[in-house]
């Protein structure tokens, strides 16, 4: 399950829950009477398991924000991610553009249970502020991505339901519905198209609190790293209610670069990269 795009780039966690879930679902899948909920969970778990072991990642992200009239704004952000066994992942984002926020950094420790721990570093004041982050439906830097879209994806945070098989481009996809358990989520449900052969997400529809279609994310281009890990390099998020869109381009993606906990410390927040 790949509704959260960032988790591919920043990447994701493996977890004990996942391990136990796999054993459970392996048994469940052998039964002919598997429910759509069980099959949905199984697909999400397989997809997550496939992505385990990436260790850490570094990349640079360029966001192009487009208004309906075609006006463009650019954001450039450096990303670092650390896979945490047994809990949610850690991530560090440092802004490079727009220039007036250069050096501003976000540090996030996501958790399987409960809200994430997040800090923002404001370089002009040299001040680190803890973010009270229950509701995360708000826009990230004026883009069509919300803070929720950026947080680490955890299976325990959703209920799943398999809908159908469907052709997606040249490939065949599972169509999967997922429902956020978090009452502060900006979404009531997401529908994902997951490539069956590669177990990677090709498209996601996001439905708002009024159950209307809000956004559609399409991954335009994938690349495989370390012979195993699919990472999007171009994706598009379109807001179907406002006509605005955000295009994301990742460059310089590297996995297993040797980052450690020290790279995700508060002291390190102040050392802008």
């Amino acid at each position: 399950m790949q509704n959260v795009l960032f988790h591919r780039a920043l990447s994701l966690s493996s977890s004990l829950i996942l391990a136990t879930g796999l054993i459970f679902s392996a048994n469940a899948s052998s039964e002919a009477t598997q429910t759509p909920e069980q099959k949905g969970l199984e697909i999400a778990q397989k997809q997550k398991a496939q992505d385990e072991g990436w260790g850490d990642s570094q990349s640079e992200m360029k966001m192009i924000l487009r208004s309906p009239s075609g006006k463009e704004n650019t954001r450039i952000i450096k990303l670092k991610g650390l896979e945490v066994i047994g809990d949610g992942d850690k991530s560090l984002m440092v802004f490079d553009q727009p220039r007036d926020v250069a050096g501003t950094a976000f540090l996030s420790f996501s958790h399987i249970e409960g809200p994430d721990d997040q800090w923002i570093y404001l370089p002009a004041l040299k001040r680190i502020k803890r973010i009270a982050s229950k509701k995360k439906s708000g826009s990230f830097m004026g883009s069509e991505f919300s803070y929720e879209d950026l947080s680490s994806f955890e299976i325990a945070k959703y209920d799943f339901k398999y809908l159908r098989d469907e052709a997606c481009g040249d490939a065949q996809c599972y169509v999967l519905e997922s429902y956020p358990k978090d009452k502060y989520s900006g979404y009531t449900r997401l529908i994902s198209w997951i490539n069956q052969a590669e177990l990677r997400t090709e498209k996601v529809e996001f439905y708002d609190r009024k159950k209307s279609l809000l956004k559609v994310m399409t991954i335009k281009q994938y690349e495989k790293f370390e012979g195993k890990y699919w990472r999007p390099v171009v994706s598009l998020m379109e807001n179907k209610q406002t006509g605005k869109s955000t295009e994301m381009h990742w460059t310089g993606i590297r996995l297993k670069t040797g980052l450690t906990e020290d790279d995700f410390s508060k002291n390190n927040l102040k050392r802008a990269k």
Binding site: K135, G142, T260, S265, K266, N267
Partner: protein
């Protein structure tokens, strides 16, 4: 001298492998207009000022990111005559070595402590750049050596501060001045080492779930300038100038912040021991955030804080101060008594005050945000209303507006440090071009 040695050391470090690692260069150029709508209190003051400022930042990090150097000079020129706001400062110029779970920083640096919005009681490392902004948020670069540990038990930071930065105030035709100028050549220190007194500080900070804790200790020269009339050399001259007096200070600070749902509860407190007596200060309150109001993307923060201190009048006996009589035609008190005894209310005015404010973060493409608030003195009815907001035009131009209005300032200078600023409502417009 120590400062020069530090600089020499840093320059040497800068010459390390210059062809390796990552180098970054950025900064801004600023044009600013300041307008004071009320008639000046003193006829030597002006109503309008234009100024230009620049800040650049050069940053180098080695390939393995273990070594880094940051250099961040700042400068401003203004249309003020004989003002002090025309100034330059090295905000930061330090070398950082990042070890595993620890780091050391050597050079000129800036350190921020605290959680509250309306008052920064605990924050003590850097001197306030008082001429730069009315809200006191700007700081002067402080020479230091700091050692920081970040472990499971929290962050521990140790500081040695070998040189003291003096606070400067408005002068010439600038607003927000005392009736007579300050003579910076006769600055008085309680410490025999004067500006070279070596200060020490330590702070431990950590978080336990949604609770953030900080405990700090400072021992050194107080950053607060106490205006006195006198002369350490007992030379009897006319009282045509104030002198700044800096005493020795031991400060214990506490910071607490607890996040519950959409609330952030905050507390900052200090206990200070000074040559002129002991006193305690506190600020406590909350920020309640309405996130993504009606899915508009807008965040609205509601802030309320209470400020308190038990500081009494300060009697300066150190340094054989001689109290001089003011010329008969001097504009207003401080009179002879005020020179030796400085009212606590003058030095620490927020002794029974509330702050109410609201913060709007639009989360739009242009990062528009503003904070509007009022500090209200529950005893005297004095209020300071403020608005600080900004937005971006295009990719690199940021425009901000800052407004400060004072009302109900007491008619006695001993009752308020804002007495001499009572006509200095201020409107400030800045355009900053970032590169």
């Amino acid at each position: 001298m120590k400062k020069q040695l530090l600089l020499a050391g840093l320059s040497g470090l800068l010459c390390l492998p210059a062809n390796a690692g990552e180098f970054k260069f950025n900064g801004y150029l600023e044009a600013e207009l300041r307008y004071y709508p009320n008639d000046a209190l003193f006829d030597f003051q002006s109503d309008e000022f234009a100024s230009a400022a620049a800040e650049v930042e050069a940053y180098w990090a080695s390939d393995n990111e273990k070594h880094s150097v940051r250099f961040k000079p700042f400068g401003r020129i203004t249309t003020a005559e004989d003002g002090n706001r025309d100034h330059a400062d090295i905000r930061e110029f330090y070398y950082n070595y990042a070890g595993a779970g620890w780091q050391v920083e050597i050079g000129i640096n800036k350190v921020y402590w605290g959680v509250a919005e309306s008052a920064h009681l605990v924050d003590i490392i850097n001197q306030t750049d008082a001429v730069e902004s009315f809200n006191g948020e700007e700081k002067l670069g402080q020479p230091m050596i700091s050692l920081g540990f970040e472990e499971d038990w929290g962050n521990l930071d140790l500081y040695v501060l070998p040189y003291f930065r003096e606070r400067k105030f408005a002068a010439g035709d600038e607003r927000n001045q005392l009736p007579i100028p300050i003579d910076y050549d006769k600055t008085l220190y309680e410490s025999d080492d004067g500006q070279n007194n070596i200060d020490y500080a330590v702070r431990w900070s950590h978080y336990f779930g949604d609770l953030d804790v900080g405990i700090s200790y400072f021992n050194g020269t107080s950053r607060e300038a106490i205006p006195v009339i006198g002369d350490v050399n007992k030379e009897l001259t006319a009282a045509t100038a104030y002198t700044s007096y800096y005493q020795q200070l031991q400060q214990v600070g506490l910071e607490l912040q607890y996040i519950w749902e959409d609330w952030a509860f905050k507390l900052e407190g200090t206990a200070k021991q000074e040559g002129t007596g002991d006193y305690n200060s506190a600020v406590t309150g909350f920020e309640y955030t309405l996130s993504d109001v009606n899915f508009s993307g807008i965040d609205i923060g509601l802030l309320a804080e209470y400020m308190w201190n038990d500081r009494g009048d300060v009697s300066i006996k150190e340094a054989s101060l001689i109290v001089l009589e003011l010329p008969a035609d001097s504009v207003l008190p401080p009179d002879v008594e005020a020179a030796a005894i400085v009212p606590g209310e003058f030095l620490s005015p927020f002794d029974h005050d509330v702050f109410l404010g609201t913060r709007f973060t639009m989360n739009d493409v242009d990062s528009t945000d503003f904070i509007a608030g009022i500090i209200y003195d529950l005893d005297k009815g004095t209020s300071i209303a403020s608005f600080e907001g900004g937005t971006r035009f295009g990719d690199s131009l940021r425009v901000t507006m800052n407004v400060y209005f004072l009302t109900n300032v007491p008619k006695n200078p001993n009752d308020s440090s804002f007495y001499y600023s009572r006509n200095d409502d201020q409107i400030e417009l800045k355009a900053q071009w970032y590169f």
